[in-house]
Symmetry: C2
Subunit: 442 residues, 2 copies
């Protein structure tokens, strides 16, 4: 059976950031993959299955969120205007002592609703009770790279538990799920624990998703204590031999950047969190020049406060222009290449998603550029990077299946999800600093 999208404009980018916009295209999807991209014909082919009339809407790869803690949406708005240290010690980690398995399930579903409505088709998620998150993704029909977050204080038995999670879900949900070992960070996991995570990942053939060098201050504190940067430590421990998602690497040094360029590591860049918590500006421009893979993330909704990858893309371009003092940097083509191919590479699917090309998996979105905020449409790329809103996304396809059509969700019951999340509102917002799950002291 085929799915045909007719009369679409198609965005294509090369890895180097060259772009073209093809008008009046017909895209044929067979099974879960793109079969062809060709000029529209007068009438749909006779063997056409489902047909989507795009009416000139823009077809592009679904957005990819390379680092989030999706179920944290249940705490959205509960930690405002505070420092990173307070954010962890007085807000987030005390709040997470309220967390129950069911919260992860309903929170994941809520976050998936928000992301589908914003055109996000794949998320690399890093949280707790991830069996429940995996069930939510299976139900939603999206793609995900899931890691069960663990702290060194939980002991190696917990590493085995999360390795078991990986074994169970790797390749599940028609191949939409990949799994990752997810030790929290060098400052919450000792070397032996990190080696344990590495060994289990290597055995399972999966990668590692970890926070590292979140600020320049963390890097400096680590150098003081250990004599090397936290990124160098991960390399010394053999972690960077594996595919790795590094959130956030804001404090990556020039040496770190040179190192990362030679490793199968990708950096998940979440600029809204960095601005809001005054964590510094990540050296994205320098990473890209060095050849480090960079993708976009939102981080969790307690720092972001949304899961809007359009905003991550825009903030990346804007802050890099400002920080480098050169408005020519992070130009439209490079910015869109990062949001598509770059992010695909970071989540380990660089040759499977992130481009509208025959043979790629059909993770695609249709974006309406007819709104007043896009008129007149002199430049589609400029509109995508600087004017588009999550609400402009009309239709979402993942793995060849339509999961939102003309803003109508086809896989999830939004009202029921809202009801379930709101049932626990009072319990979730209780905050007892003494009951925090960890202490932030990098």
């Amino acid at each position: 059976m085929s799915l045909i999208i007719r009369n679409a404009r198609v965005l294509q980018t090369t890895p180097a950031g060259e772009m073209r916009i093809l008008d009046q295209q017909e895209v044929v999807i067979r099974g879960n993959a793109i079969e062809s991209v060709r000029p529209a014909t007068a009438a749909p082919p006779p063997d056409a299955g489902e047909i989507i009339e795009a009416n000139g809407q823009l077809l592009m790869p679904g957005l990819i969120n390379c680092h989030s803690h999706v179920p944290m949406v249940i705490f959205r708005g509960l930690a405002e205007d505070v420092s990173l240290e307070k954010w962890f010690n007085e807000y987030m980690w005390p709040l997470e002592s309220n967390l129950q398995e069911e919260d992860v399930y309903w929170g994941m579903l809520l976050g998936l609703v928000e992301m589908i409505e914003a055109g996000v088709t794949c998320v690399a998620d890093h949280y707790f009770f991830m069996d429940r998150a995996a069930e939510a993704v299976r139900q939603a029909g999206t793609r995900a790279a899931l890691g069960w977050a663990v702290f060194g204080s939980q002991g190696v038995a917990m590493l085995d538990r999360t390795a078991e999670f990986c074994r169970k879900w790797q390749g599940a949900a028609d191949g939409r799920l990949t799994t990752w070992m997810a030790p929290h960070a060098p400052y919450t996991c000792d070397d032996d624990f990190l080696r344990g995570a590495r060994d289990r990942a290597a055995d399972l053939g999966v990668g590692i998703h970890i926070h590292v060098a979140e600020t320049r201050g963390q890097t400096e504190a680590h150098v003081q204590k250990r004599g090397i940067t936290p990124i160098r430590l991960l390399d010394d421990l053999g972690i960077l031999k594996l595919p790795t998602i590094l959130a956030h690497a804001v404090g990556a040094t020039d040496d770190d950047i040179r190192l990362l360029a030679d490793r199968p590591a990708g950096v998940a860049h979440c600029p809204k969190t960095y601005l809001k918590l005054a964590m510094g500006i990540a050296p994205v421009h320098a990473m890209r020049r060095a050849g480090v893979a960079v993708g976009l993330g939102t981080d969790g909704a307690v720092s972001n406060n949304t899961l809007d990858v359009w905003e991550s893309m825009r903030l990346m371009a804007l802050t890099q222009k400002e920080a480098t003092g050169a408005p020519e940097n992070l130009a439209l083509g490079e910015t869109l290449a990062i949001a598509t191919r770059g992010s695909a590479r970071v989540v380990g699917l660089g040759d499977r998603i992130g481009a509208v090309e025959p043979g790629r998996l059909a993770d695609l979105i249709l974006v309406d550029l007819d709104g007043a905020h896009h008129q007149p449409l002199h430049s589609v790329p400029a509109s995508l990077v600087y004017a588009a809103r999550a609400s402009d996304v009309r239709t979402v396809i993942v793995n060849g299946r339509v999961i939102m059509r003309d803003r109508h969700l086809l896989t999830l019951d939004k009202a029921e999800i809202f009801r379930q999340v709101n049932r626990s509102l009072e319990r979730l917002s209780r905050r007892t600093p003494a009951s925090r799950i960890q202490v932030y002291r990098p």
Copy 2:
């Protein structure tokens, strides 16, 4: 006749940035002003005229755009990834040599559509052929503070022309229009010309809307040439004795800030332009601490690329937290106070708009916080500053009149406006650097 909004949550802020959210309110509007804000009654009063059932939507002051060049929307997307100098000399000023009076009219209407749909009820605009812009505002039903932009090279006769514009339109359209003299900037207007603008403004009883200290580099170049900062020059010329809208003051020095705190001047802050053109971070936090009036603007759509004041608000808070290294700064209350009362003060209407209080003019918007990106709604202020989108605005009231209801525009014909703007697309995008209207050489 009265207009009653029932079952709304109401956002109230004090000038100091204290906030409260009142649930289940009934707001009565009589004529063009708010008559009362009170807890909802069981049934609407018997003398009720029009009734709007808010169903828990948030009622807040309409957003105010303190500095824009609205008709520039017609050039949206035509000057990307370039330096400020190139932006002026190779793009904007050559493009504006294509400009005709009719372009201003249709461009203004297009920008007003975008702003109404985004909940912007008032704009301080600075552009050319402003008789046509004023007609567009009269038709749209919004509020505006209009200034006809002039360069010193145009000679004093042009000052008289723009003073005539002020005389004609001041207080027009049921009081929705105010007018301002609008010399472009100290670097494009000599001292005599600026004195001429000052004298005419003083005679007319209007203020002055001018660009100044757009970057730190402009300030330094001015000090080099003249021995004083451009803001000090405006003061020496007597301009700052009048009500003044200063765009952008990114390069304001500590001395400038102390000076401005004692003058009836307001700063229009347009952070997206500053980031995109790498102009530096404006000292908003320092200005506020010193008591300088600060409001939000979008600047024109060729640098922004939208007219979205929600985004300006968010970028202000995010960039100030980052630049000051203190996430406690520009907290939710202060940010919302700037977006409402602060902006009202900058456009010279500090006691008339910007608050949901009896006696204020009824420039109000209803915002839907039921979207997935707001759930669960632990904090209305956090949602407004960090999660709300222009598309969440459902209903817009200006001067007591509903001009958008449930996203349906009641005063403007969007399709016709799009058609008219697109008719001129090819002519408008022609770019001949030799035919620029000015040269940027500060």
